[in-house]
């Protein structure tokens, strides 16, 4: 169900406005982008340029004011909230800027959480997958640690494992390194890149960190809600 040109995500003339009191903020204006399967794409731009809005649309947590957003063949403007939720569960993985791990669950349980939301999987299968991913992100020994017992980088790695555990088509990461120091940030990006290469998962993430951008296949720069330039 990919787009005609093999894209997994397509934005066509997308506009997004937020009412702000009496004013309307045009967060995105006439944005058209196509992102192919297996791409490792960075959305870059200064603060307020619309990076998060773009990710929200691609992440199916928001709908466009105008234009169409197609994610894995679904026009998200036409889906109900419930269907959008299901779409996120089935196709998407999220890595948040502030990790958003569930505080009362340990690393293992946090990673397991999306699998439980999905259901259908046996306990053994879940354990295998979670253990596998924790190993991949290098946290096998920290499986029973709660988020507050982990460092920032470790937390973000748990978040990555959690985003990947359902084998999503697309992983969205909103400034995944913003709350990390440079070395850790680089390590996280390397990890994502490795997974991108080995698993073929499409990564779309926003950043304004030049070193992070250096790892990307493609950088989409935004300025004032418009695509400023694209670089490969």
């Amino acid at each position: 169900m990919n787009g005609a040109n093999g894209s997994i995500v397509t934005l066509a003339n997308v506009g997004k406005d937020y009412p702000m009191g009496k004013l309307t903020v045009h967060a995105l204006t006439d944005v058209s982008i196509a992102i192919g399967k297996g791409e490792f794409t960075t959305i870059a731009g200064p603060s307020g340029s619309g990076k998060t809005t773009l990710l929200n649309l691609v992440g199916c947590v928001d709908t466009p004011t105008s234009g169409t957003v197609t994610v894995d063949g679904h026009d998200i403007g036409k889906l109900s909230e419930r269907a959008l939720t299901t779409l996120r569960l089935e196709k998407l993985g999220f890595i948040f800027q502030s990790f958003n791990l569930i505080g009362v669950l340990d690393a293992f349980q946090n990673v397991e959480f999306p699998l439980l939301l999905r259901g259908h999987l046996s306990r053994g299968e879940r354990r295998r997958r979670v253990a596998d991913l924790l190993l991949k992100v290098g946290l096998a020994e920290h499986a029973r640690h709660r988020p507050n017992e982990l460092s920032g980088g470790q937390r973000q790695r748990v978040a990555i494992a959690r985003a990947l555990v359902t084998s999503p088509r697309i992983v969205l990461a909103d400034e995944p390194t913003a709350n990390l120091d440079t070395d850790t940030g680089t390590a996280i990006i390397d990890l994502m890149r490795t997974i991108n290469e080995t698993e073929g998962t499409t990564f779309i993430f926003s950043t304004h960190d030049a070193r992070v951008m250096a790892h990307a296949h493609r950088v989409i720069r935004l300025r004032d809600g418009r695509v400023d330039e694209e670089a490969r």
Binding site: A27, T85, Q97, S98, I102, G103, F113, P114, L117
Partner: protein, 725 residues
């Protein structure tokens, strides 16, 4: 499973808040279980007390009644309960109603009885000594009476001032010089000279003064003119149930005779309630000793408990009650014994007695024992004794005074309710006497009247003219029964009477003969049952039969036009019946308040938790958690909180109830004996209390999660994302 784990951990993540909520919920559920169990137990025990002691399961009375049956009301007046004219027929009908085990005839009323004062008792003793020719005894008693009269004249205290004499004088009871006469040597010399009534001696009448009349007249002079001067007589206020004593004893299975014997089947008689007997009839000194002993047995002390302290103070002031009752030899005996016991060289009996009655915790037990062993045999321990004949006066429905003599066969109580004043409210009286007192014409009454009429030569007057015939212009007239009022029988203190219609007729002898005959008469069951009763108590074969039997009787009454009103024990027990209701209201209010507070706090805490976790919830939503998953999580948290602590509360409450069920809650005051149906209340667990507890917790949980859940479900997945800055 994961949600549950999250819920539990979320609950545990905020320990202080959780503990506060937990304490509230635990307290609330414990209260539900313990309070519920206690009240159920109380309800059961009270039902047992009320049903088993007086009301029966149901009470039936006439629908012409203006008032409702209220067995524990304040006895301010006789309620108008109408009457059931033919008890026999009613019983026959009611006994066929399913579940009815027994139909007990009843009527309740109250009367005043003058128990007689000490002078009366002594004069009676003198009479007996004269009749039996016991000269030494006669001398002793005479001297005692004289000294008492002397005391009356000298001391304003016992005489309540001379106003008493003046008042009696104004009522034409005491004439000037009476007291002096009663103190004169001639009077006593003449009284001593005759041991039997001399033949032909004239009766004392207003025309023949006592000093000229015979012994009998002298005795009556003492009884009627002098005895009223002493004010130590007690007026007993008796509430009684007129009933078939046999049926009563059989149906109220807690009934037991304490002193004396049961009224023989079919005979007239009176049984005193043991409680009342002890409280009102017993010698005040003995009564105080008993009260203090009881309190001390309960762990109170004279030194430490103000109430007991007061009792002891009162006891110390009662020396006169002993000394006055002692005649010469007895006084000497008791005085010597007291002197030895107290190792005192006091001479004055009153001072000795006061010293003896001044007790503290150390001396109490020995003195209590000494009183009962050495002093009690010389005093009148009970003003009314088993075997005495009581003159009971009552106001009939139509408003005139009536009086009946009835023999006291004994005292009774309800097993397990010995200490309860409420269960000791009613004395028992046979139906025949009751009907007489209540003013219904029984066969005996008719016969008595006929006899009196024959003897006195009075004529039947028409009702309309009765007033004029009897009283001239007086306003009050007997409305119900047109016959003249029977003269007060012998043994009564002279009632003030304004006319002397019966003067010169040997009423006393006739009355005495009549009484003896009545008292020994045995009535058949038919005679007892045929006739008027006021109400009937119904005993059923179980508490659970009450609604069914009540409905059946109402239907029966309508169908056969019996004109009945039916009420269950709770409805007829007035304030006592409402008591449980009031406690229920208090308990329910307390529970409601506690859980309302719990609800607000849980709600608040969940709202806080929701707001704190907006990002977390947003992330879950972003990762694909549906709204209902979030709702589930919050509900689960609330449930874990509510039910976890609810269960703890229920367990705690159950444990408490089980322990209480073993140990029992002691009835620490006398009224509680009645409510507890015995010395201890033993609550038991009932599944209903658990259900109620959980239902309450459920409602609170659901209600408290409602608002935070709405908040949580409104959290958008966007919240998890970095803000557009």
């Amino acid at each position: 499973m994961m949600l549950l784990r999250m819920a539990v951990r979320n609950v545990l993540a905020t320990p202080v808040r959780t503990i506060i909520i937990g304490l509230l919920v635990v307290f609330g559920t414990t209260l539900v279980v313990v309070g519920g169990s206690l009240l159920s137990a109380l309800d059961r025990s009270m039902a047992r007390s009320v049903v088993g002691s007086v009301s029966g399961h149901l009470q039936v009375w006439s629908d012409t009644a203006r008032d409702k049956v209220d067995l524990f009301n304040a006895p301010v007046g006789t309620p108008d309960l109408g009457r059931i004219d033919d008890f026999h027929a009613l019983k026959h009908e009611l006994e066929r109603v399913p579940g009815v085990e027994a139909v007990i005839p009843m009527g309740t009323d109250f009367a005043t009885v003058f128990s007689g004062n000490l002078l009366d008792v002594k004069i009676a003793e003198l009479r007996k000594a004269l009749e039996t020719g016991d000269a030494p005894r006669e001398a002793v008693v005479s001297e005692h009476i004289r000294s008492m009269v002397q005391l009356l004249q000298n001391s304003g205290q016992n005489l309540k001032g001379f106003s008493r004499v003046e008042q009696l004088a104004s009522d034409a009871i005491v004439r000037p010089g009476d007291v002096e006469l009663a103190l004169s040597d001639e009077f006593w010399a003449r009284l001593g000279a005759c041991s039997t009534k001399p033949e032909g001696a004239p009766e004392a009448t207003p025309d023949v003064p006592p000093e000229e009349a015979g012994c009998e007249a002298s005795l009556e002079f003492l009884e009627n003119k002098i005895a009223p001067l002493a004010m130590d007589e007690t007026m007993l206020f008796l509430r009684y149930i007129g009933t078939d004593p046999q049926a009563f004893a059989k149906s109220f299975d807690m009934f037991e005779i304490v002193d004396g014997q049961m009224i023989p089947p079919g005979q007239r008689g009176f049984l005193m309630a043991k409680q009342m007997y002890e409280r009102q009839v017993k010698h005040p000194v003995a009564r105080r000793f008993d009260q203090i002993r009881e309190r001390r047995e309960r762990g109170d002390t004279i030194a430490g408990t103000p109430e007991v302290r007061t009792m002891a103070d009162q006891l110390a002031r009662l020396s006169k009650e002993i000394v006055l009752q002692l005649d010469g030899p007895a006084r000497a005996t008791v005085t010597d014994a007291l002197r030895a016991f107290l190792k005192s060289d006091l001479k004055d009996p009153t001072a000795l007695a006061t010293a003896f009655l001044t007790v503290d915790d150390e001396t109490f037990d020995a003195r209590n024992a000494f009183f009962y062993e050495t002093i009690a045999p010389h005093v009148v321990l009970y003003k009314v004794r088993v075997g005495d004949t009581l003159t009971i006066r009552s106001v009939t429905r139509s408003g005139y005074m009536t009086a009946v003599n009835v023999k006291v066969y004994g005292t009774y109580r309800f097993k397990g309710l010995e200490k309860s004043m409420l269960a000791g409210v009613y004395n028992l009286m046979d139906l025949m006497t009751f009907r007489d007192l209540y003013g219904y014409m029984t066969e005996d009454r008719r016969r008595e009247l006929a006899e009196i009429q024959t003897a006195s030569g009075t004529r039947q007057v028409e009702r309309a003219k009765a007033e004029d015939e009897l009283f001239g212009q007086k306003e009050e007239a007997p409305a119900d029964v047109g016959a003249p009022l029977p003269a007060p029988p012998e043994g009564q203190a002279a009632a003030p009477s304004g006319f002397d219609e019966f003067a010169g007729i040997d009423m006393k002898e006739g009355g005495r003969r009549y009484d003896r005959e009545l008292m020994n008469r045995v009535y058949s069951q038919d005679e007892l049952e045929t006739g008027v009763v006021i109400q009937a108590a119904l005993k059923l074969d179980g508490m659970d039969r009450i609604p069914e039997a009540k409905a059946a009787i109402e239907a029966l009454s309508t169908e056969k036009r019996l004109g009945l009103r039916v009420a269950d024990w709770r409805e007829v027990s007035g304030l006592v019946g409402k008591f449980i209701g009031v406690i229920w209201i208090v308990l329910v209010t307390a529970i409601v308040i506690i859980f309302l507070v719990a609800l607000v706090i849980i709600n608040n805490s969940m709202v806080m938790a929701t707001l704190d976790r907006t990002r977390e919830i947003g992330a879950m939503r972003a990762m694909g958690a549906q709204k209902r998953t979030i709702l589930g999580l919050l509900t689960l948290e609330s449930v874990v909180l509510g039910f976890g602590f609810g269960l703890l509360g229920v367990l705690l409450g159950s444990g408490l109830v089980l322990v209480l069920g073993q140990v029992g809650i002691p009835a620490f005051n006398d009224e509680l004996y009645f409510l507890f149906a015995g010395p201890r209340l033993l609550p038991g667990l009932a599944p209903a209390h658990f259900l109620v507890a959980f239902a309450v917790v459920f409602v609170v949980t659901v209600a408290s999660v409602f608002y935070p859940a709405r908040l949580a479900m409104a959290v958008q997945p966007v919240e998890a994302m970095g803000k557009e800055d």
